[in-house]
Amino acid sequence: MLTIKNLHAAVEGTPILRGINLEVKPGEVHAIMGPNGSGKSTLASVLAGREEYEVTEGEVIFKGKDLLDLAPEDRAREGVFLAFQYPVEIPGVSSTNFLRTALNQVREYRGQEPLDAVKFLSLMKEKMKLVEIDQKLLSRSLNEGFSGGEKKRNEIFQMAMLEPTLSILDETDSGLDIDALRIVSNGVNKLKSPDTATIVVTHYQRLLEYIVPDFVHVLYKGQIVKSGTKDLALELEAKGYDWIKEEVDAAV
């Protein structure tokens, strides 16, 4: 589904990603872990098409298409979904209006009929249950005045509505209490299917107890320096990142 080859990216001339290689197949869950500043969020942002990041080398193929060639909105329409680390508050734009606009544009791109108000509302009701989100939140301006947990839940709710094939969760767990973490993870798990894949970017192993990964990759200084199974995450939890840093730095 997704093939990343030798991906290099920089922000304002400073290299952040220095040769990422990653293969994600349908049905898989990949966790990207690593110490602060290793490039985890940059990877997520580059895949979603954030403009500040300049890809200097390498390629990303998504479902046979050159992902880096597409505008952010077309990536979303192709089925890439980024759950933001810091969801943006947009005063004056109602959550419902926003989602309907988004969903219908995605549907149009996929050659589907737009949903009328009635069908849209019933779809919304169905997906709301998945992330236990309150209707009251959705009648408000997008993310405005939402708590941290509510914002993250809203991200997963949007994901449920847009039905992406590749979901990238950028530190969705950070700042969540146990209950919110459970709800968000349940939502993600319910949305999993043999045809979809998930990349979970996280600093902590805690989230991976709920969203169990097939593969765990450790990112350090812009490269994947170690890959393994979920046991690697447990090892990181127990030992921290220092031993990996030492291993890598010694090899250099």
Partner: protein
Amino acid sequence: MSTLVKEDLFENLLESAPANFTEARQTAKDLYLESGLPAPKEEEYKFTGITKKLEKSLSNFNQAKQLSVEETLIKETVFQGFEGDVLVFSNGKFLQEVSSSIEGLEVSDILSSSAEIGSIAKAEKDAFAALNQASFSGGISIKVPKKTKVEKPILLLSFNGVNDGQVITPRFWIEVGDFSEVTFLDQSISMGEEAYFVNKVVEIKGGLNSHINYYRLQNESNQAIEVSNIETDIQSDARFTSVNISLSGDMVRNNLSLNLLGSNSEGNMYGIYLLNGKTHVDNHTNVDHTIPHAESNEMYKGIFDAQSRGVFNGKIFVRQDAQKTNAFQQNNNVLLSDDAIVNTKPQLEIWADDVKCSHGCTVGQLDEEALFYLQARGIGKVQAKGLLLYAFAGEVMEKIEEESFKNHVVGLIQDRLGSKF
């Protein structure tokens, strides 16, 4: 130099003024001749070089003669969904025969009315107000009796165009009796693409506990030059709300003044600028708190694309007696292009010591992070921009209480922003 300029420009206009309200006209003429048109550096017109614009754009400084306006044209022009009465003007002249007759209201051509010309919009305050008072050639007087709720909105529909002259000088006198309510919609339509100059004055007198809405849509041709002076006096417990939507024009200057003359009165001034091309719109507002316990709210939002230019100047006076005043002012602007310019200046003068006043103005660009967020959900860039800008301006639209007009304005704004949602 300035003497030469003003005589060159409007001498004929002053000479050919109608022979009524002679005293008011003479007083104004003297004032005008004394002050002349605003000089280039004059503080009040510092960012709006209206005198130069007039010299450059017009050649025939005579009053434009009446254009024929057929009923079919009126029908086609009135916006969809409007249900109310229509008063029609052609180059300032009130066309009674094609206008609605509104039961219970005293409506007459201003030239044969008993309007107290210049008692509210005083000629000494502004050269264009003086010029209008000296030379107005048409308009209307509307008097709403006491305790009258005018159920349907009144559309003041003006057709403007060049006809043997490029100057149009209308004057409206609106008097709303105690405990009465009325909503006016003011809209002008350009006939043709030639440059003309509208110099308009609207005087509004609101009685005790009256409720007056004055909504204005400015979407004339990009050759239209306009200066308007709209001034309102309201008494105790009365409420006046102005919403001004500016979408096009060449150079537009709106002087909007509000005098809160009785306690517990409330004045609201809201506005949107949504400009592109080279359109220049200047909103000068003035609120005068003279008595205790009155409130004023002001919110203007601007979106400027291409080489458009916006000016906002918001004066609030709180006189020494005006204790317990609440006065709020806000002006927020978004620049979409490197060539767009906005000048904004809040100006508060407060002599009372027990008041709540605030003001704030911002000038910024579109929030890139918000734009990316919307795009990352599959919304195209143009539509995402539209959604954000609409959200920015929407707060002002919410202030329009007349649904059909609100829907019309929302439609126009969405069209301009290139997206429907």
